[in-house]
């Protein structure tokens, strides 16, 4: 893994556990997000398999109602907040600086802090299983059910865990926004940023503006549970929670899908050997989705009784999100059109994404038809819808990204044969699992039910779904094996294995600590491609003879000489971020177990102070003078 840098002013890659704990390198932080999320995916997937086992037959007896309710709640929470969001964060951390030609994110230590806080929140949430019971109020924790049983700490875990995850995400998002807006390489105007990074920006804005609302809701839930306030119970209003939750919850679903859309927008051009069709349209449609995503939250509340006018308004607004989303779909197909499509694994998964996401999106549009949704709401039809968008969309997209960028992370390919098995099993298993749920839902099977009676005709399709879910499980076992093995033994890939278009392919695999020997000067969208290819009079790509891919970085003839850095001080490692995060995590546990927990809160506060003070007094860079 260690690269020979030969120039001694280039920082070397440190090794050892301690170097990971104190790291402020965005690439390592990205890796840690990714690994945590992958582990969490297996945990949440295992929970899903238990759910499926329980539902295989009418009146299933595998799980108790109590266990089942905890499992589906944690399955949903984990998948959304601890799997898909962090996977997004993993890719963003790793690739935003590479995409915009920067050496790191704007605030490397805050970045590390975000990760550690995320990790501790994850630990808090998952540890609830063994410490008094996991949250069991559904992932959207509707009040007053969620505030009802004060004697159970379960929903305190929810309130605290989600709150801390929120803080971590807000910090990470502010970091990404500051990075993209202020640290782009010379020439990297906004309309030259790779689409993935654009989507990361949109996602960051969505989080920045939606998480505080959720935060207020969580505080209110927590106060109702612990301090006797009356936000949702008593004289309060249960629908207030629903508004606050979905004001966050709906933008959140676009937080989950936009990074995957960004990844697919990177992959499809590379494997079609054509630029993205209508780059500005794709970018603006992403921004439009972000804006519109804030205006449709109440489509989760059609049956709650908002009144016909509000329902009609939100119904129509919701439908219109199909428009910018459709633009993306059509532009992807437009990119493939007239191209030269190579069906490498990343491309296969991307096409899977497009195909399955359309199904999920269309079922979303049927939801937005309000009267229809009176029937579909809280039935398995919704479960089918969101797994198609989240799994068929999100997970397919992220897996595509993993196959695409694995060579950049490790310098090696993931095995193609195993990858093909993974793809086909996942595709088949996925459709077997979730397509039947449309039928179940329309035929009246409500979601979140730990058992269903005989005579309703639910057995057959449930059995199909269970079989399908195990096929998905198998496919991911193959994937896990592939990841573990290929890291050390995969086929060597070189720096630019796919003939890539964006800047990350211009540097070595894995990238050096400082990313770029020289900050690149950017002249085009897909700048790296344009360094390799010109177009002939017909508009076809022609490879330029003198530049060989992957070695551009070594040549020093690009860019002005003033961009050559004399000293390349990278931010120095620091353990204060993890200390501060651990302090806050400790406080979190204290808050769960109030009033006894106040002592723990106090201890946690002290640790946090230590971390924060140490952090602020510490010099910023190794070479940086302090005092």
């Amino acid at each position: 893994m260690v690269i020979d840098t030969s120039k001694d002013l280039v920082p070397a890659r440190p090794t050892g556990i301690w170097s990971w704990i104190t790291t402020v390198d965005h690439k390592r932080i990205g890796m840690m997000y990714g690994i945590t999320a992958l582990v969490a995916f297996f945990v949440a997937g295992l929970q899903a398999l238990l759910i499926r086992l329980q539902l295989t037959n009418a009146n299933g007896t595998v799980l108790s109602a109590d266990a089942y309710n905890q499992l589906f709640t944690m399955h949903g929470l984990t998948m959304l907040l601890i799997v898909v969001m962090p996977v997004g964060a993993a890719f963003m951390n790793y690739f935003i600086p590479l995409h915009i030609g920067a050496r790191d994110v704007a605030f490397p230590r805050a970045n590390a802090f975000s990760f550690w806080l995320f990790l501790f929140s994850t630990v808090i949430l998952l540890s609830s299983f063994v410490l008094g019971g996991a949250p069991d109020g559904g992932w959207f924790g509707y009040a007053p059910l969620s505030t009802q049983l004060e004697e159970y700490v379960r929903m305190d875990y929810y309130a605290v865990g989600a709150q801390l995850l929120g803080v971590a995400s807000i910090m990470a998002s502010a970091n990404f926004i500051a990075t993209v807006f202020t640290m782009r390489a010379p020439g990297m105007s906004l309309m030259r940023i790779p689409v993935f990074t654009w989507m990361a920006v949109v996602v960051s804005f969505l989080l920045i503006f939606s998480l505080p609302i959720f935060g207020v809701g969580l505080f209110q839930m927590f106060f109702d549970r612990n301090f006797g306030t009356q936000f949702f119970g008593g004289g309060g209003d249960p629908l207030l929670w629903q508004h606050l939750f979905w004001l966050f919850g709906h933008p959140e679903v676009y937080v989950l899908i936009l990074p995957a859309m960004g990844i697919v927008s990177e992959i499809i051009p590379v494997f079609s050997r054509k630029p993205l069709f209508g780059y500005p349209f794709v970018v603006f449609s992403g921004i439009a989705i972000g804006f519109m995503g804030f205006g449709v939250w109440a489509h989760h509340m059609y049956t709650a009784g908002l009144g016909p006018v509000a329902e009609a308004g939100f119904g129509v607004a919701t439908m219109m999100i199909a428009v910018p989303t459709g633009v993306k779909i059509f532009n992807w197909i437009g990119t493939m059109w007239g191209g030269k499509i190579r069906f490498e694994l990343p491309m296969l998964f991307s096409i899977g994404f497009v195909s399955l996401f359309v199904i999920g999106g269309l079922s979303g549009v049927t939801h937005s038809v309000v009267p229809s949704d009176y029937q579909q709401h809280d039935s398995y039809y919704v479960v089918a819808h969101f797994h198609y968008v989240l799994f068929g969309g999100g997970v397919f997209g992220f897996v595509a990204g993993a196959y695409y960028w694995f060579p950049k992370w490790t310098g090696r390919f993931l095995d193609k044969r195993q990858g093909l098995w993974h793809f086909w099993l996942m595709l088949i298993g996925f459709n077997l699992t979730f397509a039947p749920m449309h039928i179940l839902g329309l035929n009246g099977m409500p979601r979140r039910t730990y058992r269903y009676g005989e005579g309703l005709g639910f057995e057959f399709w449930n059995q199909v779904a269970t079989v399908g879910s195990f096929i998905i499980g198998l496919s991911f076992l193959i994937f896990a094996w592939n990841l573990i093995r290929s890291r050390k033994h995969g086929e060597l890939a070189g720096d630019d294995p796919w003939d890539g278009r964006t800047l990350e392919w211009s540097i070595s695999s894995p990238p050096p600590v400082h990313n770029f020997d020289e900050i690149p000067v950017v002249e085009h969208v897909d700048d790296y491609w344009h360094r390799k290819y010109a177009t002939d009079e017909e508009g076809r790509a022609v490879r330029m003879p003198d530049v060989s891919g992957g070695t551009v970085a070594a040549d020093t003839d690009t860019g002005g000489d003033d961009s050559h850095e004399e000293d390349m001080h990278m931010p120095s490692p620091s353990y204060y971020p993890i200390v501060a995060a651990a302090g806050i995590g400790t406080m979190g546990y204290g808050f769960v177990y109030l009033p006894v927990g106040w002592i723990v809160v106090g201890i946690g506060a002290l640790i946090t102070m230590w971390g924060v003070f140490g952090w602020s007094l510490e010099p910023v860079t190794r070479g940086g003078e302090h005092e």
């Binding site: 500051a178 202020t182 001080h569 910023v620 940086g624």
Partner: protein, 197 residues
């Protein structure tokens, strides 16, 4: 939270100050949503007093005075920033202290007000109105308190002339935060106090 790292040289020709300011402004935008949610909650419950005490407890002259104090702390803050910009360490120090002092006076007023109200029977749990009122003004107060602490940290740094070191947190950022806390109170004062009487 607010003391963020800044990789100075790592970014070559980038001036780090705009990066931090951008992050601060984004954070403030986010805070708008935070306070907006609580203000909306208060509006929702403005009449839900469960037949207990409600807005009739408000002492408008008193709160007007403390609002005025907070408003003027924005003036002292901007003067501190101005002095800081002119590399006038003494001026900076004096105005920082004045700002922290005014903030403390505001907090004292709020504590006084809360104890009054609790005596009258308006508590966090007495009604939805009480819950929303204390949550909103309480979180604002917490913001003021954090602001005062940051001001004192700046003051302390100014004593041994370390104010101009490159650091995650500096007078300008603290100033932005402080003004923000003030403008939030402008809205709260109107919505919670003036509109209710």
């Amino acid at each position: 939270m607010s003391s963020q790292a800044a990789p100075v040289e790592a970014h070559g020709h980038h001036d780090v100050r705009p990066i931090r300011k951008a992050a601060m402004w984004v954070f403030l935008g986010s805070e708008c949503m935070f306070f907006g949610s609580m203000i909306a909650t208060f509006l929702l419950f403005r009449n839900e007093t469960a037949d207990g005490p409600g807005s009739e407890l408000f002492n408008i002259p008193f709160t007007s005075a403390s609002s005025f104090v907070l408003l003027m702390s924005s003036l002292t803050m901007v003067l501190a920033h101005n002095a800081f910009g002119n590399r006038d360490a003494r001026g900076t120090r004096i105005w920082l202290a004045a700002t922290a002092l005014l903030g403390t006076v505001f907090l004292a007023g709020q504590i006084f007000e809360f104890t009054e109200f609790v005596h009258e029977g308006l508590t966090l749990s007495s009604s939805s109105f009480g819950s929303a009122f204390y949550m909103l003004t309480g979180f604002h107060g917490a913001h003021v308190a954090i602001g005062v602490m940051m001001l004192m940290a700046m003051f302390y740094l100014s004593l041994d002339g370390r104010l101009y070191d490159d650091r995650g947190l500096n007078v300008e950022l603290v100033g932005l935060y402080w003004h923000f806390v003030d403008i939030v109170w402008i809205v709260i004062f109107t919505v919670v106090y003036l509109l209710q009487v």
